[in-house]
């Protein structure tokens, strides 16, 4: 190699070295001082790392969560907010209200063009979420792709709520479930109770006046039971993620299902042998009161309400037996969405992620008698909680992980359920 070419090689190497150093320095500078956006929007949220979202959340410093439920839920959600504030330094405020008011407020704000609201996170079930979503009042972001802990939620529940496509703009945080609550001291499972919906009518005929269900328009245990009954009566496939059409609903529910009867004829037949035929308890509470008073021996009831009644001393735990009838009972995965005008969107994401953390999810069965949305969190639930009599005793429901993995897992269809609720007044209550 000549002296000139050696010199040019050295110069070339130095230039290359300086260029590489500059590139590295530049890239380090970019990473060291990330240009965090002033606020999150539908575009930049996908480009940020989770750590950056957390950083932004800390800058926002506050999250306001609107929820609903019983006093048990109110106390639990308030406690969660206190825990979150303590752990993260981000102030979480819980507002206990009614989902209807919350959703109407958001829809009005959307129509009025109010770009910055007061609510960061809303706990909602399917229909209010659908109303808000269709009105454009929901932040149009796939939460499942952003929130790390969302991966533990069952796939269908992540993208559908009561068969309504949520597109992960709503993420479930828990699932309330309805089972058959029976008098354990008088009836033995499986011999003395209707193990399946197939056996229900016969059982009710043999035990007249010992079964009732909540007016479906006054309590969720009533309409969830009727939805489960309809899915058994006409087959789950008739409802599973089907389009809703009123004419189709009319046709379906007036067509023969089991016993050569249509759905309403079946319910009217059942009614003849129910407790005080023609009179339905007006709400979940009124229904379980009849059970507590010893008037009825078998009712469809929320697991959560059963737990709360036992814990408040109104229901004798020795009376409490719970199971899910075959083929199964559908249930809702209720959860949260972020409004379009949430002022603290990053904090809302971080809070939602925290709600889905295994530690918090494992508290849900213990505190309010609902199932966690994140299936694996069930493994962290203490055995003494799982042994309580309000949890279903039959297979596969005893073990949530097994149940969720292998089924049967049915969902409610919000639109057909609403059809049943409305039509029930005409066809059953007035019948």
């Amino acid at each position: 190699m000549t002296g000139g070419s050696r010199l040019s090689a050295i110069v070339g190497a130095k230039v290359l070295g300086i260029a590489i150093a500059l590139i590295l320095l530049l890239s380090c500078t970019v990473r060291l001082s990330p240009a965090l956006p002033e606020k999150l929007d539908e575009r930049n949220v996908y480009a940020l790392t989770w750590d950056e979202i957390v950083e932004l959340a800390k800058k926002e410093g506050k999250v306001v969560w609107y929820g609903f439920g019983s006093t048990y839920e109110r106390d639990f959600f308030t406690e969660l907010c206190e825990m979150f504030t303590k752990e993260t330094g981000i102030q979480a405020v819980y507002v206990h209200g009614h989902w209807f008011d919350t959703v109407q407020k958001l829809i009005s704000e959307k129509k009025a063009g109010k770009e910055v609201g007061e609510i960061d996170l809303v706990l909602a079930w399917s229909k209010p979420f659908a109303m808000a979503y269709e009105a454009g009042a929901v932040w149009d972001v796939n939460l499942a792709e952003i929130i790390p802990n969302a991966k533990g939620i069952p796939f269908v529940a992540k993208y559908f709520h009561d068969m309504y496509p949520s597109n992960a703009r709503h993420l479930p945080i828990l699932s309330w479930w309805v089972g058959f609550l029976y008098r354990k001291d008088l009836l033995k499972y499986p011999d003395d109770v209707p193990k399946s919906f197939d056996e229900l009518l016969d059982w009710v005929k043999k035990h007249p006046g010992k079964f009732t269900y909540c007016d479906p328009n006054k309590g969720g245990s009533g309409h969830t039971f009727l939805m489960g009954l309809a899915e058994w009566f006409y087959g789950y496939d008739a409802f599973a993620f089907a389009e809703y059409d009123e004419a189709r609903a009319e046709e379906l529910f007036s067509s023969p299902g089991k016993y050569g009867m249509n759905f309403w004829e079946y319910l009217n037949e059942l009614e003849k042998y129910c407790y005080q035929p023609g009179i339905y308890p007006q709400g979940n509470k009124a229904t379980i009161e009849l059970f507590e008073a010893g008037e009825v021996l078998l009712i469809p009831m929320w697991i959560s309400i059963t737990m709360q009644e036992v814990q408040t001393g109104r229901l004798d735990p020795n009376w409490v037996g719970m199971y899910i009838p075959e083929p199964t009972m559908p249930g809702p995965f209720d959860g949260c969405f972020i409004p379009f005008n949430a002022p603290h969107k990053a904090a809302a994401l971080v809070f939602l992620n925290w709600l889905l953390s295994p530690k918090v999810q494992a508290l849900i069965p213990q505190k309010i008698g609902a199932y966690p949305a994140v299936t694996e969190a069930w493994k962290l639930v203490p055995d003494e909680v799982k042994k309580q009599p309000w949890w279903p005793i039959n297979e596969p429901y005893k073990d949530l992980v097994k149940w969720r993995k292998f089924g049967p897992m049915w969902y409610r269809h919000a639109d057909y359920m609403f059809y049943i609720m409305k039509k029930w007044i005409d066809e059953v209550a007035r019948g």
Binding site: F100, Q104, A112, M131, N217, Q276, A286, V428, R430
Partner: protein
């Protein structure tokens, strides 16, 4: 026509009142009326309905739908509750006026409990008394069965006859009626009663010939107040009523918060407003005329 200074002053003085009436009465009523045609005034969701439409009205007057019968049931039960409350309240006020029991001054405050109890609490209280294991239900049913009037226990709450609603409504309205009647009865001069007595009138004759004629306008006015208040309340029919028939305001509540059928809710609201306005007009008009005559 010349606008005088006095006219302008009176308009200025009354402007806040007009503004108040517009905001608090006119606009909400207009919103309900427009809503019944599927038109949203404040941007509230109307669901999939795009107005103007007559669907709500067609649905309401369709006898196969529950609304028309609900309106009838609401008026029917409200009238019965009003008759019982007004009669009981009036007779109790008369009893206190005529007999003046000394113990009354000590226990009179107990009477006011229903007035200060939230309706929803009162309704739950009655539910626990009247549900099949409630002691009142047990006592009533034992009496009825003992007399051979019924073969088995009859439902006294959440029943299709509105018995539970009547218990709850009368409990509250009776006290209101009594409180309204008690004042006017005390204003009747004792001289009139003494004069009637000196002419040989019995207690019933004093009541029929002295007290009732002098308080008949109070009876009509009280009936109007109680009737309209009973029709408007929701807590009691919601908790003590049955699945069917239902008060129309329970139907509205369910349409709004459960099935999101806003147009039906608005239409029921219009019929409610019309029914209340007609009944209120008849009763108040009658009362106002009579008071006018009395003053003359």
């Amino acid at each position: 026509m010349k606008i005088t200074k006095e006219d302008i002053i009176s308009v200025v003085f009354l402007l806040p009142l007009y503004a108040f009436l517009s905001v608090m009465v006119f606009i909400p009523i207009l919103n309900v009326i427009l809503g019944s045609f599927g038109i949203s005034l404040f941007g509230l969701s109307m669901g999939k309905v795009k107005g103007p439409v007559l669907d709500g009205y067609l649905n309401f007057v369709n006898p196969s739908k529950p609304y028309l019968y609900s309106l009838f049931f609401t008026i029917y039960i409200s009238v019965i509750a009003t008759v019982i409350s007004v009669a009981a309240g009036y007779l109790f006020a008369i009893y206190l006026t005529v007999k003046r029991p000394p113990i009354w001054s000590k226990i009179s405050s107990i009477m006011t409990i229903p007035l200060f109890t939230p309706y929803v609490v009162g309704a739950f209280m009655w539910w626990t008394l009247l549900f099949p294991r409630g002691y009142l239900a047990i006592v009533i049913n034992r009496i009825l069965m003992g007399l051979g009037l019924t073969k088995g226990p009859i439902p006294l709450v959440n029943d299709p006859y509105g018995i539970g609603i009547l218990f709850g409504e009368v409990w509250i309205r009776f006290v209101i009626s009594f409180m309204i009647f008690y004042g006017p009865l005390q204003l009747i001069s004792q001289d009139l009663v003494d004069a009637a007595r000196s002419l040989g009138a019995s207690t019933w004759q004093v009541i029929l010939k002295v007290y009732i004629p002098l308080t008949k306008y109070a009876i009509v006015a009280t009936s109007a107040i109680v009737l309209l208040a009973t029709m408007a309340g929701i807590s009691i029919p919601l908790i003590l009523g049955g699945s069917w028939p239902q008060f129309l305001n329970v139907m509205i509540y369910l349409d709004v918060t459960k099935t999101f059928d806003f147009i039906s809710a608005y239409t029921s609201g219009v019929f409610y407003l019309v029914a209340s306005a007609v009944l209120g007009y008849i009763l108040f008009r009658f009362t106002a005329r009579r008071i006018e005559f009395q003053v003359r």
